[in-house]
């Protein structure tokens, strides 16, 4: 399967990854090769087969509705690229 430049740009946007023209040109053959390899799955009949998302078919374990974590805001924000006074700083969102 060959992906067009437009498709690659669309996927990159969905994945929130900036791509230059050069990136698109480099990615195009590699991504297309991978997607062509994936098409190999079409050779297998999977009618009436249920999808398997957990290898041992375990169900989600529930726990008691109790507080287990304490607030560690200062510790977590100490590794943020730009945080102060308990706030994370990002570029202006609303003018």
């Amino acid at each position: 399967m060959i992906l067009s430049d437009t498709e690659i740009r669309k996927i990159a946007h969905l994945a929130r990854i900036e791509v230059s023209d050069e990136d698109v040109a480099n990615m195009q053959p590699r991504l297309s090769k991978v997607l062509t390899m994936i098409e190999h799955m079409d050779s297998i009949n999977t009618d009436n087969i249920a999808p398997l998302s957990h290898p041992i078919d375990a169900t989600q374990r529930l726990r008691l509705d109790e507080v287990t974590e304490t607030n560690q805001r200062d510790i977590f924000q100490s590794i943020a690229p730009n945080a102060d006074h308990g706030l994370y700083f990002v570029p202006l969102v609303i003018e």
């Binding site: 992906l3 690659i8 996927i11 990159a12 969905l14 994945a15 929130r16 990854i17 900036e18 791509v19 990136d23 480099n26 990615m27 590699r30 991504l31 090769k33 991978v34 997607l35 390899m37 994936i38 098409e39 190999h40 799955m41 079409d42 050779s43 297998i44 999977t46 087969i49 249920a50 999808p51 398997l52 998302s53 957990h54 290898p55 041992i56 375990a58 989600q60 374990r61 726990r63 560690q72 510790i75 977590f76 100490s78 590794i79 943020a80 690229p81 730009n82 994370y88 990002v90 570029p91 202006l92 969102v93």
Partner: protein
């Protein structure tokens, strides 16, 4: 000192023939000596390691001894370690100091083991050669022009060069077994859910599983006893009775039923490789094990299904790296979208971006059914194949990797060539089964790994099978010439 197994070191530490401080000094010296030629470590923890060693010696003195007390270990840089940098081989986390400790490393700390450092790895564990690391390729001690396998390539190189007594790895599609095979060491990926994923940086959560890498199967059992166990902090951790992984080490091979998958030995397998593996299997046969042909009819599509499921999960897991809360942030973002897009474009390497994009494509509304659901259906068929096989056999054996270690740079340009390095290991992850690799021979002085696949939670038997083989052979004792 570095030639001894963990089991041997245990006795030496307990009888005070050596101290943990002496041992730790010795390994740290070797690590520094070979760091420029191998690049096996991202972080070397001289100060904390020596402090841990001194604490361990005190513990030994007081008789509070566990199997790994005082044993110097190398931890893969995928495990969060409080106060010590955790990079996951990525520029994205080059400055990341985790505010908490992973369950795996905490268990090693609780056991009194020493953390020598954090090992290099493919970026976010995505790779089969350790070439995708932001910190540069790791070299194979058997041939410095060759890769050590991946993604746990720093760990495998460190073990092959005898820079630690034991190491941890993680295995999403073969990342413990393939590097173990390519560097002539032993490694086991346990059943999915056996070892906690808490604090282990996620790549593909339904496949990721940590395990030990070491000199011998016996050492693996000792390390797994420390690593494994139910963890309420990991929602996919399996809550079942604790297993003693050393329990079956002495079980004889007589009567063992070994499944041989025909598909592992077809024309795609290198002839010399086939011969080495068949010779290894004959050793088991000579001890009274029986061989049985088995079919794994969907193994050939496992790689395709894996390269949908793993990227899909990775695209979701890695969406957390947004340049806001931690990790890399681009300079002077124009707006929020620019902040996200450039931080991710600059912070992630080529292979990681490629996999995020494949996963994003697979999960997009247009391809979800044909791609993602289809792969999950194939996943069920793959598991069914194994369950059918295990009705008649106890373990399955074959090669770990189709070739010995390849040259650095050789497979970088072609992702498919690289992905096929894991053609014998991937199905095991999709099924969630335990798999291991042990040294079984050399081709042109490069190591070959024998893969042993077991039924769910049957690691103790697999380790016993491997241990018995290691009592009869000495491939696991081979060390590359310059690292003796």
């Amino acid at each position: 000192m570095h030639n001894y197994t963990i089991a041997e070191l245990r006795k030496m530490l307990d009888t005070k023939k050596i101290s943990s401080v002496e041992l730790t000094h010795h390994y740290l010296k070797r690590i520094h000596q070979y760091q420029s030629s191998l690049n096996a470590f991202v972080t070397i923890c001289d100060e904390t390691a020596l402090k841990q060693a001194a604490d361990a010696d005190k513990r030994i003195q007081e008789g509070r001894i566990e199997a790994l007390t005082g044993i110097p270990m190398a931890q893969k840089d995928i495990f969060c370690t409080q106060g010590i940098k955790t990079t996951c081989g990525s520029k994205m986390l080059d400055n990341f100091i985790a505010p908490y400790e992973s369950t795996v490393t905490q268990k090693f700390l609780d056991a009194g083991s020493v953390m020598l450092g954090k090992t290099n790895m493919d970026e976010f564990a995505m790779g089969s050669s350790n070439e995708t690391s932001f910190y540069g390729a790791v070299k194979n001690p058997w041939d410095l022009e060759c890769v050590p396998g991946g993604s746990s390539g720093g760990a495998s190189a460190a073990m092959a060069a005898q820079l630690a007594a034991g190491a941890t790895g993680t295995d999403t599609g073969g990342s413990i077994r393939q590097p173990a095979a390519l560097t002539g060491i032993s490694g086991i990926k346990p059943t999915y859910g056996s070892v906690s994923r808490y604090g282990m940086i996620a790549f593909a959560s339904s496949l990721d599983q940590a395990g030990p890498m070491g000199k011998t199967a016996e050492d693996l059992a000792l390390m797994l006893n420390t690593m494994a166990g139910f963890d309420p902090k990991d929602s996919t951790s399996i809550d079942r009775a604790k297993i003693d992984y050393t329990a079956l080490l002495n079980q004889p091979l007589k009567g063992l039923r070994i499944g041989i998958p025909k598909t592992f030995f077809d024309e795609r397998l290198d002839k010399q490789m086939a011969e080495v593996i068949q010779t290894a299997i004959k050793v088991f046969e000579s001890q009274g094990a029986t061989l049985h042909d088995i079919e794994l009819p969907h193994n050939d599509v496992a790689t395709a299904a894996y390269y949908v499921i793993a990227p899909a999960e990775c695209s979701s897991n890695l969406s957390r790296y947004d340049g806001v809360r931690y990790g890399y942030r681009c300079d002077n973002p124009k707006n929020l979208l620019d902040l996200y897009q450039r931080s991710r474009a600059e912070g992630f390497g080529t292979e990681v971006k490629q996999r995020i994009m494949v996963g994003t494509y697979a999960l997009s509304s247009k391809s979800y059914e044909a791609c993602y659901l289809k792969a999950q259906k194939i996943r069920r068929l793959i598991r069914r194949d194994f369950l059918t096989a295990f009705e008649n056999v106890d373990v399955i054996m074959g090669p770990t990797s189709p070739t010995t270690a390849f040259k650095i740079g050789e497979r970088c340009q072609d992702p498919i060539q690289m992905y096929l390095s894991d053609m014998y290991t991937i199905a095991v992850n999709l099924a969630g089964l335990p798999g291991m690799s042990i040294p079984a021979g050399l081709i042109n002085n490069m190591p070959v790994g024998l893969q042993i696949i077991g039924n769910y939670f049957d690691e103790a038997r697999m380790l016993g099978v491997a241990h018995q083989y290691q009592l009869l052979t000495d491939w696991h004792k081979k060390v590359p010439e310059n690292f003796k």
